[in-house]
Symmetry: C2
Subunit: 339 residues, 2 copies
């Protein structure tokens, strides 16, 4: 009842047992007689004792900490990912050490080193890429790494994404079915696998109908990038009749820009986003968009990570989950369109 940290030794003394006995009572799976358990629990209760997780980690070699690196928190997609990821991990008895990444690579590398210093049991990178140096460091430290919503070409590390190429294709098909023929793409950052894949699926689907995109402009996943791209498109020789935007976050900026600066044309231009963040359903936007199945992506990420941690094996896996087109009112709905 007084102050400062209580240790297992103090509990042992009060309970009249050895320190090992106390430890056993608090170690799941260790054996102790009911009598010992009772005495220890009582003493612990009275003293306010709880095992020091850090000391435990030192002996067991498992910290039950997962390092999580996130970027783009201004994009509503990521808070949601963060929340679900963190909840899923907590449910399995893990805790999350969080790091904000800016886009510069050196930053990521040093952040990753710091994460490793905490003896994390695993690392999740949300929309952040990994240098091969760091991938090597993680392998050496035997710490599994999972990329979330981003792929890595070298296949050195596991990755969970939605089916982005397919998604890009679905959007193109929808727009084509709607009778559009001047379809532009404001793409996600071309330095990201995700952005490239969506653009590729989209372009391929158009090509299969003998069409080409009106233009493809990199929006860098930012509002500013999307706004600039919108102006470029609208002031070009031939304005688009539809724009596929690389994610919802940019799509909102595109819609805002059209409304504010091209009010007459705005209504006639179909907009389709990617992600289906909660805001896409808000009446102000009512955005038609390709839903990324966050739930399942998170579940897969966590289960894969757990398997690697518990299995000790770090064979990289690449997992793609198909997403569905959510049709709202921001883009013309093709006659007879279903699903």
């Amino acid at each position: 009842m007084s102050n400062a940290k209580v240790t297992s030794l103090e509990v042992a003394q009060r309970a009249g047992v050895s320190q090992s006995a106390v430890s056993r009572v608090f170690t799941p799976g260790a054996s102790a007689s009911q009598k010992t358990i009772d005495k220890v629990r009582k003493a612990a209760q009275e003293l306010g004792y709880r095992p020091n997780v850090l000391a435990r980690s030192l002996t067991t070699g498992k910290s039950r900490i997962i390092g999580l690196v996130v970027a783009y928190l201004e994009n509503q997609f990521y808070p949601e990912v963060l929340e679900r990821l963190s909840n899923a991990l907590q449910r399995r008895g893990y805790h999350v050490l969080i790091f904000m990444a800016s886009q510069t690579a050196e930053n990521i590398d040093s952040v990753m080193q710091e994460i490793l210093d905490y003896q994390v049991d695993g690392i999740i990178l949300a929309s952040v890429a990994l240098s091969s140096d760091l991938a090597a460091a993680c392998r050496m430290a035997q710490v599994p790494v999972i990329l979330f919503n981003r792929g890595q070409d070298d296949g050195e590390v596991s990755a969970v994404t939605s089916a982005n190429v397919l998604g890009g294709r679905k959007v193109a098909d929808f727009l084509l079915a709607g009778g559009h023929d001047r379809i532009a793409h404001i793409a996600g950052w071309s330095g990201s696998s995700t952005g490239r894949d969506r653009a590729r699926g989209f372009t391929e689907a158009l090509a299969s109908k003998g069409l080409a995109p009106l233009a493809i402009i990199d929006g860098k996943y930012t509002r500013a990038g999307a706004q600039t791209a919108t102006h470029t498109l609208m002031q070009g020789p031939m304005p688009p009749d539809a724009i596929f935007v690389g994610n919802d976050h940019m799509a909102f900026a595109v819609m805002d820009t059209l409304m504010a600066h091209y009010p007459d044309a705005a209504h006639g231009i179909s907009i389709v986003g990617y992600d289906d963040v909660p805001m896409a359903a808000w009446q102000a936007y009512n955005l038609t968009t390709l839903r990324q199945p966050v739930n399942r992506m998170v579940e897969k990420t966590v289960s894969t990570l757990m398997a690697q941690i518990e299995g000790g094996t770090i064979a990289p896996e690449t997992i793609e989950i198909e997403g569905e087109l959510i049709v709202r009112t921001s883009a013309r709905i093709p006659k007879g369109w279903k699903k």
Copy 2:
């Protein structure tokens, strides 16, 4: 270059010095000759050695981990807070163990216990209240706690908020100056000090002009709550000509609801929010709102926490930071209004 964790002992052997020497080289402020430093750094480099932070924590009694509890991540205010808080802490050499809180109190208590188990050096609760049991546990463990954007009446723990009573008053004055006389308030959750304070300032300012709010409805900080409240207001005997909404997140829901269900009336109703999240500036909303100075609130939170950690003293402080009304177009601008 092979595998698994490298220890200071291995570095010592390779460098031909004692293990203590290695430790000193990696301990800021410890003394070692340049020659030793060079040898150790070289060996460490070759082996890929980095100190085990957990082991260090065990001996020093400082983990350099801060526990952070957040709720309401769907409200754009919090991702921003999280990002800034985390960056500010990282800059000072601390790392963040994050926990998502649902609204139930038991949940918070168990989460807090888990945080304490990690021997965190301090705890920040963002928009989450603390039971007095837990406050006691933290005091006993000598772990400073700071409430962010929420106050605690008992004054047992430090709190950083914006000047909410004053903020509520400023909003009322603005609306009054705009000539409104049927002003309703969709309040933040009445179980939160923040929500109560804003409502109080607002009501007091109206009262000082001999007016009363048309109605005060608790919106619970949720979109659903705000939507329901909007319908209640609009279908009442006397619809409002202005609504002060307890935070921006709910204000967007109110505007969406008005647009979708009361399009004729919508334009004539002034809406004012609270927070000034980035989205408030987006053209779709253009929300007039009382800005919470996140920057300064975060700085104060972190500096107060640091002072308490380093000073060892845990005298609770209550800090209020004044916010400014950001005038956009969602509410009628009084003639001749400046600042």
